[in-house]
Symmetry: C2
Subunit: 475 residues, 2 copies
C-alpha cells in the first residue's frame, strides 16, 4: 500500500463560490481582486480556461441558501463584508465553462434538502451530457437556519435525520441513473421508426419513507450516468455518509497528524462498506500564497492579510459554528464551555494549537484568508514540499484550493506551483478517458461508477432483470 | 391605435425543447434532422448563433416533467417515437448559448409547481446576470399527472387552485426581485470596507397561504430584475393570469378570426388590470416550411409530412387533452361527447374546420408537423404574406416558430424568410438596449418592468420606504 502511495498523483480542485467573499471576506478590497465579477460570464469562462490549462481536475463551486446572521445576531456584518452575500446560483454558469474547456470537471453544490430527486437527477444528467461526463455533485444537506426559514420547511423536516433523507434521496437518484434505462435503450432505428425501445427502459417503483417515485427516468443515460459524488463535512454521521457514497471527500484540516486520524477513519469505514478505501479521494481545504521566492511570497501574504476583515471572518464563523463571538472582546480568551456544541465548534482551534487560549482576534486572523484551512506561503518549491508532506503524512489525495484574491491566487498557483508539481511527477499529463470519474480513478475503470460503489448495485439489478427476461426482442 | 399597428414589427421566437420529438414526432427519422444532438452542447450553441444572426428575439425552450402516457394507456408510443422523451432540463445549456450570442433572449420554461420561490428567484436572477438581461421565464403550472406522481405531490396540492398558487409564487418573486435590494445597495466602497450597505436591503416579510418567506433576497439586482414574464395557455384562468402578468403570451391558433377573439379578450383583460393592452406581446405557434419557390416548398412539405408519426402525434395529443384516441379506428369520426373536458379537448379541431367530422387519422396528420399550430408552406414572399396577414387580422405581435426538422426549419427561415421580412420593415435592425425586455418593449422603457406591470408596485414600495426613512446614511 505504501508503494502505491509514493509519488502518487496529487489531485487539484479550485474552490470558488458565486459571490465576492467566499473564504477570505474583506479581500474584495484588494486592488487585484476580481471576485466582484462573479455576475459576469467572462469571469467564469476565463477562470475555467486557466484551471484547464493548469491541470486542475475540477472547479468546485460551493453554495448556501441563506445568510450568515449569527454574529451580532444580525446579517449586517456579512452584508457589509460581502461574506457569501450577494450570492448567485452555482449551476447556470457551468455549460459556458464546459464549452471553452476540454477536461476540467465541475463539482456543483446542491442541497438536497430543497429538491425532489426526480427533478434534480434530470438536471445533473443534463449537465453530464452537455459536459460529456465532467460533472460531480457535491451532496449537501442544509446547515443555515436562515435558509430553512425562507424555503418553507415545516417542523417535521427539522426533526428528521437529514442524513437519513439524504440516503433515500441518493437511492432514488441511483435507481433513475443506473437502473431505469439500459445502455442500448436508445436505438434510433430510422427504418423501423423506433427511437427508444420501450422494453429497455423500466419504472423504478420507489416507495420509501420520504419519497415516492413510481416512474421511469425522463433522460437517457449520460456518459457517467451517476455524476461523481462529492461530499464535504466531517461530522461522525457525515463521515459515514462519505465512506458509503463519496468518491471525492472534502475535509477541513489543521495538521497532518490530526487529519491522518480522520482520513484513516474514513478509509476504514469505506472498507467496512466493501469499498476500496483508496477509491475515496480525500481532499483538504488549503490556500497557497506563492511567488518566485519565499521572501516575495511572505511579502505577498503580509499584503493580503492586511485586507482581511475581522467582522467578515467572525460572520462566517458564526454561520459555520453557531457561536456568536461578538459576545467577547477581541482579546478576550474563549471559554471552553463544556457543551457538545461548543466543543465541536471550537475543536478546530484547540487542534490547531491546544496550548493557546484563542481570542476572537486570533480566530479572525486564522480564518481571515482561506477560512478554516491551512495557508501555505512560499516559493513554488516550498509550497510543493508542503503539499507533498500533507499527502504523505495525512494520506490524502489532493487539495481543495481556496483563493485569497481571484483569479490571482489561482493564476499564481497555475503559473508557479503546477510546473513544480509536474516536474515532480505529481500531476501527470492527461491521458485516456476524458470524464471526471476516469480522471479521479484512472481510465481503466471507465466513466461509470466502480463495482464497489453503492450505485453499482442498481446497475447490476437492471442487467439481471434484462437477462432473466431472456433474449429481448425489439418491441 | 390602428396606425401604430400598421407595419408593426414582427417578433420572432424559436420554439425548441431539449428532446428529439418536440412538436413533430417522427421527423427524427428524416435524414436532415439533427434533433438527436440535443445532448450535445454544440447543437445549442450552433442554434443560438443561427437565431441571433437571423434576428430572432428569443429561443423559447419548452419543458415537461412527465411522460405522455394517455394514448393506449401507456407511455410506449411516446417512447418509441421520441415524443418528448428522452428529455433534458432546458436550463443548463443557456449560459453556453449566451456566451456565443449578443442579443438573443432565452425563454426558459420552469413549472412553479415543483419549486420554492426563494430558490427559483435566485436561479433566474443568476441567469439574468450571466446573459446581461436576456432571460424570460415561461411560467407554467404542471399538466401531466405522470409528473405529479413522481414529484411527491400530496392530495392537498392537487386540490389547490394551481393559478392561486402561481399568483402568490409570483408575488414572492416580485418582492425578492423588485423590493428587497435598492439599485444602489452594492456600494463596493473599498476605503470604508462596505461591499453592500445593510440599510439598502430589506426583508420581504412575506407570509401568505402557500409560502412563508421572511428574509432578504440572496442576490443583487440583475439587469432586468424581474425576468420577462412569458405565459402559455389559453384556458379562461390562464388568460386572466396572462393578462395580469404576461409580457409575452403564447397561444395556439387555427384561424386568424378565432385567434382575434382570444387576442381581443386578453388585451381587454390586460386593460382592465390597468395595463397598456399592447404591452402584452402575443405570439401564436406556427411552423413555416419554405424554399425559394412555392413549388419547392410544397415538395419539401410533402417529403417532411411523410415522416410524421401517427402514434407519436396521438401520444402528444393524449397528454395535452387527456383523450385517448386509440379507442377509435383511424378512420372513425370523433364523437363530440357533450362534457366540458371533451369539448375543450376537441375545440381546436372544430374551430379548424367545424364542418368536418374529424377522424384520428386527420387529427394525427394535422398535428404531425408543428403540433396544434398552423403550418405555412411557400416561398419567402408567400410565407411573409401569410405572417403579415396573421399579424393584421389576428392583431398578434409575432410567432413562436416550431420546427419540422432542426436546425433545418430554422435555417430555412433565417436564410429565406427573414431577409424578406427585413425588406418589408417587419424586422428592424437592432438598436438601443440589449436586454430582452427592451427588445420587446423598445429601448425607451429601459430594462425594468413597465410601470403598469404588477411587479412595479413592489419597486415603488421600496422607493417609498427608502424616501420615508429620510436621507439615508451609509451604515
Amino acid at each position: 500500500m505504501l508503494l502505491s502511495r509514493n509519488r502518487r498523483r496529487i489531485h487539484l480542485n479550485a474552490f470558488d463560490m458565486a459571490c465576492v467573499g467566499h473564504q477570505s471576506p474583506g479581500l474584495w478590497r484588494h486592488p487585484d481582486d476580481q471576485a466582484h465579477r462573479y455576475t459576469d460570464l467572462a469571469y467564469w469562462t476565463d477562470l475555467a480556461r486557466l484551471l484547464d490549462r493548469g491541470g486542475f481536475d475540477s472547479l468546485f463551486i460551493a453554495d448556501v441558501l441563506g445568510v450568515y446572521d449569527v454574529y451580532q445576531g444580525s446579517r449586517d456584518a456579512a452584508v457589509r463584508q460581502g461574506a457569501q452575500i450577494p450570492l448567485s446560483d452555482p449551476l447556470p454558469a457551468v455549460s459556458a465553462m464546459a464549452a471553452v474547456t476540454e477536461r476540467l470537471g465541475f463539482g456543483i453544490t446542491v442541497s438536497l434538502t430543497y429538491e425532489q430527486p426526480y427533478k434534480l437527477a434530470r438536471t445533473l444528467t443534463t449537465l453530464d451530457h452537455l459536459t460529456k461526463g465532467r460533472i460531480a455533485w457535491n451532496v449537501v444537506t442544509s446547515y443555515l437556519e436562515s435558509a430553512a426559514r425562507n424555503l418553507g420547511l415545516g417542523e417535521q423536516v427539522a426533526h428528521d435525520d437529514r442524513y437519513e433523507v439524504a440516503e433515500e434521496f441518493l437511492e432514488v437518484c441511483y435507481k433513475l441513473w443506473e437502473y431505469s434505462w439500459d445502455d442500448d435503450a436508445v436505438v434510433r432505428d430510422r427504418e423501423r421508426g423506433i427511437y427508444t425501445d420501450p422494453g429497455r427502459i423500466r419504472d423504478i417503483a420507489h416507495k420509501g419513507r420520504h419519497f415516492t417515485v413510481p416512474g421511469v427516468f425522463l433522460s437517457e443515460p449520460s456518459p457517467q450516468r451517476t455524476p461523481v459524488i462529492f461530499q464535504a463535512g466531517a461530522s461522525p454521521r457525515g463521515r459515514a455518509f462519505a465512506a458509503r457514497h463519496g468518491e471525492g471527500v472534502f475535509i477541513n484540516a489543521v495538521s497532518p497528524q490530526a487529519t491522518r486520524r480522520v482520513v484513516d477513519d474514513i478509509r476504514a469505514k469505506a472498507a467496512a462498506e466493501g469499498r476500496d478505501p483508496y477509491s475515496v479521494k480525500i481532499f483538504i481545504l488549503l490556500t497557497a500564497i506563492t511567488a518566485p521566492t519565499d521572501e516575495e511570497a511572505r511579502a505577498k501574504y503580509d499584503d493580503l492579510i492586511s485586507y482581511a476583515s475581522y467582522e467578515g471572518a467572525l460572520a462566517l464563523y458564526g454561520g459555520w459554528s453557531g457561536l456568536d463571538l461578538s459576545e467577547l472582546a477581541p482579546d478576550q480568551p474563549l471559554e471552553y464551555v463544556d457543551t457538545d456544541a461548543v466543543r465541536s465548534a471550537l475543536a478546530i482551534f484547540s487542534t490547531a494549537d491546544p496550548t493557546r487560549r484563542w481570542t476572537p482576534d486570533q480566530v479572525a486572523r486564522y480564518l481571515g484568508i482561506g477560512g478554516i484551512g491551512p495557508v501555505v506561503v512560499g516559493s513554488p518549491a516550498t509550497v510543493a514540499d508542503e503539499l507533498e508532506r500533507w499527502v504523505e503524512e495525512a494520506d490524502i489525495d489532493g487539495f481543495n484550493l481556496a483563493y485569497a484574491t481571484t483569479p490571482g491566487t489561482f493564476a499564481d498557483f497555475v503559473d508557479l506551483v503546477v510546473p513544480e508539481l509536474r516536474s515532480r511527477g505529481r500531476i501527470p499529463a492527461p491521458s485516456g478517458g476524458a470524464t471526471l470519474r476516469e480522471r479521479l480513478h484512472g481510465a481503466a475503470g471507465g466513466p461509470r461508477v466502480r463495482e464497489d460503489h453503492p450505485a453499482a448495485r442498481h446497475r447490476e439489478l437492471a442487467i439481471r432483470e434484462r437477462e432473466s427476461a431472456g433474449t429481448h426482442q425489439l418491441s
